[in-house]
Symmetry: C2
Subunit: 332 residues, 2 copies
Amino acid sequence: MQITVLAGGVGGARFTRGLLDALPPDGPDDPPSVTVVGNTGDDITLVGLRVCPDLDTLLYTLGGAVDEAQGWGRAEETTAVARELAALGVGPEWFTLGDRDLATHLARTRWLAQGLTLSQVTERLAARWGLPQQGVRLLPATDTPIETHVVVDDEEGGERALHFQEWWVRHHAALPAHRFTVAGLAQASAAPQVLDAIRSADLVLLPPSNPVVSIGIILGVPGVREALRGTRAPVVGVSPLLGGRPVRGHADACLRPLGVEVSASGVAGLYADFLDGWLVDTADDPGTVDYPSGLRVRSLDLLMRDQEGAARLAGAALELGRDLLGATAGRG
Amino acid sequence: MQITVLAGGVGGARFTRGLLDALPPDGPDDPPSVTVVGNTGDDITLVGLRVCPDLDTLLYTLGGAVDEAQGWGRAEETTAVARELAALGVGPEWFTLGDRDLATHLARTRWLAQGLTLSQVTERLAARWGLPQQGVRLLPATDTPIETHVVVDDEEGGERALHFQEWWVRHHAALPAHRFTVAGLAQASAAPQVLDAIRSADLVLLPPSNPVVSIGIILGVPGVREALRGTRAPVVGVSPLLGGRPVRGHADACLRPLGVEVSASGVAGLYADFLDGWLVDTADDPGTVDYPSGLRVRSLDLLMRDQEGAARLAGAALELGRDLLGATAGRG
C-alpha cells in the first residue's frame, strides 16, 4: 500500500513514526511504502545557513536521533558553536543552533550552493538517517524557496511582517497575527514526485499538524490542492485540536486571523473540498458536534502520549482509510 | 614605540605573545603599539566556510584561547559538528574543524558575504579576543583572496598542484615539492595600513615563521618588499632554523625547492635586501657561520620552550632592534 503523508514538524513527525510502527510490512522483506511531503514554509537562512525546521524534525524523528522531550533538534545535543557565535555577536539570540543540527545545515547549504535542489539535498540527508531502509521517502513540498511571514501590529499603529520563525520561536505566537503571507508561494511549483505521490497513493494522511502554517502551506503550493481533490485515494486527517485546544503549538493563534472557528469542525472545513475521513477526539464526537456533510468522522482519544500512542492513532487513521477504500471499491 | 611584525601561524603567534610580555607599556596607561601583519596564503574554503589558519592562530594565541599543546585551534575544543559532517560525507577527512573554531569561520564567511573586507572581518574578530586592549592591531597581509599551491609529482610522471593545506596537513609536507605558486598574489594589493605600518614603524620584526610559505607569501604581496627596503626602521629577524633544522613545521621541505641552503644563513639570504639584524641559535654562531655582509648577527638559545622563553627571545630581538636604532641615530 502506497501512503502519502502531508506533514509539518513535531506532530507530523511523531504521527509518521507511529504510522511506520502501525504498518505491517507489505511482504516478508518489503518495508512499507510511505511518502512524506514536508512543509518548507518555516525555512529560514541563519548565519548564512539554510535551515529547514520541519524537514529536519522529520529526519531526526524517523532516524531515531531526535530530542524526544523537546520534539525537535538532536538528542544529546551541545551548543559550543552557538555560544561562540553569541560571543561574536553573530546570529539572532532567539534561535539556538545545536552543534549536530548545525552540521545538517552546513551540509544542506553546501549542497544547495553546489546546485543541488532541496529535494536532492533532502534525499541525501534521508539516506544518512536510514529512511529508505524504512520504506520512507521524504519530499519537500517545493524546491522553490518559500518563507511564511506573519503580519502583526507595529509600534506606530501600522503593520509589519516578520518571519514565521521569529513570530513562533521568539514571540511564542503571542503577537496577534493579522494574516500570514508566504513569499514565493504563488510562483513555486511542487517538488518532483509530490503531485504524483498524492495522485497515485492508495491512502493520503494528514497528521495533526498545524492546519494553517504547516499543512496550509503545503496546500498552497500550486497543484497540491488540485491533486488532493483529484486523487482516487481516500484522504484521512487527524484533528490538531482537542476540545477546541491545540495539543502543542499555537494552531489557535493561526486559525483566528483566518476567521476560522478554533475547533475540530473548523479545521475540517479548511479541508472540506478533498477530505474523506476525519479523526477527532472523544471531546469532539460527531454525536455532539456538526461536521461538513459527507465526511466520515470517527472519534477516539487523540492524545499521542508516547510512541505507542502515536502508533495507535496512526493505526486508527489506517483503519478509517481502509474502511473508506472498501466503501469506494464498493461504490466502484 | 611602533612595532610591526610579519607573522605566520604558531611560531609567529608565540613570538608575538612573547613580545607583548617583553614590551614595557609606553606609559602608565599606554599599551604597547604592535601591528601584526598575518599571512593569508594558507587560507582555504572548507564546507563553504572561509578558514584563515594563520590569522586564527594569532587571534587565539593573543586572546588566551589557543590550545597550548597543539599551538593552534581552541583550548578545550570539541568536534561535534565535524563528526556529524563526516557522517554526512561532507568536507575533507584530513581537516577537522573544531566546534568553537568553526564559529569563527561561520562569522567570517557571513561577514565576507555581507561585503566586509577580510581586514574588517579580522578587526571584528580581534575585538572579540581583546587585541585592541593589548595594543595589538592584526592586519591580513592582503584583502585579496590568495591561495598557496604546492606543485608535486603526479602518478603519471607529470605534475599536479594541491592546496598548501592539503600538502601540509594531509601529507605532512612529505610529498617532495617542485615549487610553490600563489594564486591571486600578483594581482593582490596589500591590505589597508599594511604598507604604512611597515614604513612608519620604529622597528620591524620577523618572527621565526616559515620563510617560504608564511613570511615569503607576505613578502610577495606587491609593495611589501619595497616598503621593507624603504623603511627607516631597523628590520630584525629570528631564524626559524637551529643548526639547519626547523624547530617545528617543515621549513626544510619548503626551502629545498627554492634551491636555498637549509640554514640560518640561507634564510638570511632570502631577506638580504632589507634585513638589518638577525638572531640565530648558538649552534649557528656568526663566529663559525658566514652571513651576508653588513648584517648584524647575534646568537642565543633560540628555542621557545614556553611563554617565558618566547618573551626572552622577543626581548633579545627588541634589544637588537634598539641597538640598531641607536647605531642608525648615531649615523644620522
